[in-house]
């Protein structure tokens, strides 16, 4: 009994030692961490559980996510060459549609969140560009390495690409969109995008693409 008590104290001491020895995080890490912590606390909030609260929860998270991302930057990189051929209205429409697609994909999965922890490994800054390395920790499986690429705009860091285990979101969509534009046209891409966004559960019957 006594030894258990003593080791309990020892553990607390080691935890404290672990915290104090962590080097101070950079500005990029701090900004992203703040917003991410807010999102996690919304996800963990017991008041937000339940189907009647889902709408409210999604709206809250959407607001937080929008402050985290450079939505125009993502769209511009995804469309690459095509972006310059668009007028302002078309650009706006594309940003809206593409954000909707991402939202639809990832919002459905917020209910799957089961308390995974995120470790902020470090950051690398080069002028106004920065990369943040994080790790999603899991108990029995391999940890997942996630890189966030961000750009500093008005002293605020905004994410323009996420890469999970080396697979970049922007590159993946750019390849797909380029392939569709090359095979048909930009109008057709928008049509496909609209169909996808308006049909929430199209996971199973879209094999041919």
């Amino acid at each position: 009994m006594k030894s258990a008590y003593l080791s309990g104290i020892a553990i607390l001491f080691f935890i404290a030692a672990g915290i104090s020895s962590a080097s101070p995080a950079g500005e990029l890490t701090e900004q992203i961490r703040q917003t991410t912590d807010k999102i996690i606390s919304v996800l963990n909030d017991p008041c937000m559980k339940g189907p009647d609260k889902k709408e409210e929860k999604i709206n809250l998270i959407r607001k937080l996510v929008y402050t985290l991302f450079d939505r125009e930057g993502v769209s511009r990189r995804v469309l690459a060459r095509q972006w310059r051929k668009l007028n302002d209205q078309e650009k706006k429409d594309f940003i809206f549609l593409f954000s909707k697609l991402l939202e639809q994909t990832y919002m459905d999965r917020i209910d799957n969140y089961s308390g995974q922890q995120v470790a902020y490994i470090g950051e690398k800054i080069d002028g106004k560009y920065g990369i943040l390395k994080t790790k999603i920790l899991s108990k029995n499986d391999k940890d997942i390495i996630v890189f966030y690429k961000a750009i500093k705009k008005n002293s605020k860091w905004l994410i323009y690409d996420v890469s999970v285990e080396g697979v970049s979101l922007v590159n993946n969509y750019r390849t797909q969109f380029q392939s569709i534009i090359m095979q048909s046209s930009y109008d057709n891409l928008i049509k496909t995008l609209k169909a996808k966004v308006n049909k929430p559960h199209s996971g199973k019957d879209n094999t041919k693409g």
Binding site: A22, G122, G166, G203, K204
Partner: protein, 309 residues
């Protein structure tokens, strides 16, 4: 004598033993195992530990929730050289609109001359997944609890150590080779034939996923062309050669020599693996406008990243 990291691990083991009351010779053997482990002294690696995992301490996030505290558990983290060479370069996408069109929007693609055939195999695999593999693994899910399925997966993973170890050697990654040997020794003994992963949980030794396809890539061979094999799934010419090479190193082929039993073991492994990944393929398809292109690109990028590591 020991670095900070070793000390932490020792502290954890020490606490662990006080809790469980393990005899002290275990302590000694752990020490020797750790002294033999090359990965413990790898510079620039970070350490973290999860007390709840190690000590069966009732600090689960869910317990906090029950007490009305929503804060997630802090993770102890010690950062040294936090960003390693695997960090992708900051790309130079220009922010202003004045850029050289041709050079900046260069696309990095895998050559796919067999696209029509590949697309046919892709939709075959798609049907195979939704009509056969998914229903089977969903049923299997209901019968076998998740921890047991993870044990099965770990067993097969541990068994393939020679593939990873030898390919580490072929690429001159001596540390990686040592890590793999160490993990194999710890997990085969303490981890009961590799079904558990004490090497990671207790000693924080992460495996090195290497295969012959990566070795070929390491020496500069590109993927050549994309091939989406029926049943086996996305691959490239290089990785197909790699896969064939790895078959010679796979212990399963020497332990289970009879074809039908060998294939059953492989099939079972596949079903087991899919049962742990239910929903991953579905979400890829859900996010994609063209799932075939999305999968092809994800495979290409993923392999490129593995080779870079």
């Amino acid at each position: 004598m020991f670095k900070k990291k070793n000390l932490y691990t020792l502290q954890i083991i020490f606490c662990f033993m006080l809790f469980t009351g393990l005899p002290s010779f275990f302590h000694l053997s752990c020490q020797t195992a750790m002294a033999a482990s090359p990965s413990v002294s790898v510079k620039g690696e970070y350490i973290f530990f999860m007390p709840d995992e190690l000590l069966y301490f009732p600090l689960e996030a869910s317990n906090f929730k029950r007490h009305g505290i929503n804060q997630p558990l802090p993770i102890e983290l010690c950062m040294e050289d936090s960003l390693t060479e695997e960090t992708p370069g900051i790309d130079d996408w220009p922010e202003n609109e004045e850029y050289d069109e041709e050079s900046d929007w260069e696309m990095d693609l895998i050559y796919d001359p067999l696209e029509p055939v590949n697309r046919a195999f892709f939709s075959f695999n798609d049907k195979l997944y939704f009509w056969v593999l998914k229903p089977v693994s969903t049923g299997y899910n209901k019968v076998v609890p998740e921890p047991l399925r993870k044990n099965v997966r770990n067993f097969f993973y541990n068994l393939r150590m020679p593939i990873r170890g030898i390919n580490c050697l072929l690429q001159g990654k001596i540390k990686g080779f040592g890590t793999e040997i160490c993990r194999f020794l710890i997990n085969t003994t303490l981890g009961v034939l590799g079904t558990a992963d004490p090497a990671k949980i207790l000693f924080n030794i992460e495996g090195r996923d290497e295969d012959f396809g990566q070795t070929l890539g390491f020496f500069g061979l590109g993927p050549v062309i994309y091939i989406d094999w029926p049943i086996l799934g996305p691959s490239s010419l290089r990785d197909t050669i790699g896969y064939a090479g790895d078959m010679y190193l796979d212990p399963l082929n020497y332990i289970v020599t009879q074809n039908k039993y060998n294939l059953s073991a492989r099939g079972y492994n596949t079903v087991n693996r899919i049962s742990l990944k239910t929903g991953e393929y579905e979400s890829l398809k859900k996010a994609a406008l063209d799932p075939y292109v999305s999968l092809r690109d994800a495979y290409y990028q993923y392999r490129k990243n593995m080779i870079r590591k």
